[in-house]
Symmetry: C2
Subunit: 208 residues, 2 copies
């Protein structure tokens, strides 16, 4: 067990078992952390200049034990990661509800469907039904490309999938590459503007 | 230290200190949990009949140490509660972004301003500025009354407060009582309908 600062420690559990050792230190095994950092930075920039109010939801955990030492902060001493029932990001932009999930893909050929939970797909579908803007951001790490996929396309693939992964060329056909700037490493609202809003502020399907 | 099932255990920390004992078992000291349960139940009902997609965000925690035992789930062994930077609940209803905070009040006379963090107030203000529907739900436990307060009123009180708490009669003047049903113990969308939508589906300020 390592803590965030890289220092290693060992804990005696009540049952006398020593903890196992692992190098992974962050949420959900540390996967997808660079993309998360880049999206958070972009969201901070949107917030700073009042472009949009979009936040990452906290990582869902089930808290089992909390210790309340005197004169110091409550300390959670046993908790477990929970499967999220919704997506990681939501908020508001130009009066519209925005909702999306973000995933990194380590493969060079295909994006495994199991990266996204079925109830996350159903959640994106609900958001569309209620008039929100929903999408998925996928970073192909090997290509250093970050793709914007409209939720409708992702849902259709899931519902009709004859295979367990989405090939790279499907992203080229259905996705839009998201531009990066220094302060907005994943400037996805550029794509939202292009796909859902014209200059008059109406959405592409004609609704306000 | 007690775990959720009520069973008590003691943990030896690496520094040899024994944990302290406390009866509180749930998030943020267990305060406000009944209201949270009632709102979650109402949200589940809205979701079940496809009225709205509104969820509570997970409790924000800073994860410091994670243990990865072989052949079992990752176990968080050190984490701390974080001050939330946004509100607890958000989602979409009739195409509009919905955002609110919920608090229980134990007093019979006034609601302490410190119950809501200043950045939560600023967050509600941002949501209004971007065209969302924002409010605060306050349950006066002693009266068994649950009040709907529009964010604009709550923000105005905060910004002009000459006192550190909001008196009960202010709620009677500015708030709307939220009806309760068996399956929707806090049926706040009834109030959203009345205040923000007429029968034609337009919001009260005339925007779609």
């Amino acid at each position: 067990m390592y803590n965030i600062s890289g220092e290693s420690t060992m804990v005696n559990y009540p049952n006398g078992r020593k903890s196992s050792w692992a190098v992974r230190t962050t949420s959900a095994g540390g996967r997808g952390m660079m993309l998360e950092k880049d999206i958070n930075m972009s969201n901070d920039s949107y917030l700073a200049d009042d472009t949009a109010v979009i936040h990452k939801k906290p990582t869902p955990v089930t808290i089992v034990k909390v210790d309340y030492p005197q004169r110091s902060a409550a300390k959670i001493t046993e908790a477990y990661f929970k499967i999220p029932s919704t997506t990681d990001y939501n908020g508001i932009y130009k009066g519209k509800y925005i909702d999306f999930e973000a995933k990194e893909c380590a493969s060079r050929t295909s994006f495994p469907l199991k990266s996204i939970h079925p109830h996350q797909i159903r959640h994106l579908d609900s958001v569309l039904r209620h008039g929100g803007i929903a999408f998925v951001i996928v970073r192909w790490v090997e290509y250093d490309e970050t793709w914007f996929i409209q939720a409708r396309d992702m849902i259709d693939f899931f519902d009709n999938a004859s295979r367990r992964s989405i090939p790279y060329d499907w992203f080229q056909q259905h996705g839009v590459l998201i531009p990066a700037t220094y302060i907005r490493p994943v400037d996805y609202l550029k794509i939202v503007d292009r796909l859902y809003f014209d200059k008059g502020g109406t959405t592409s399907d004609g609704r306000k």
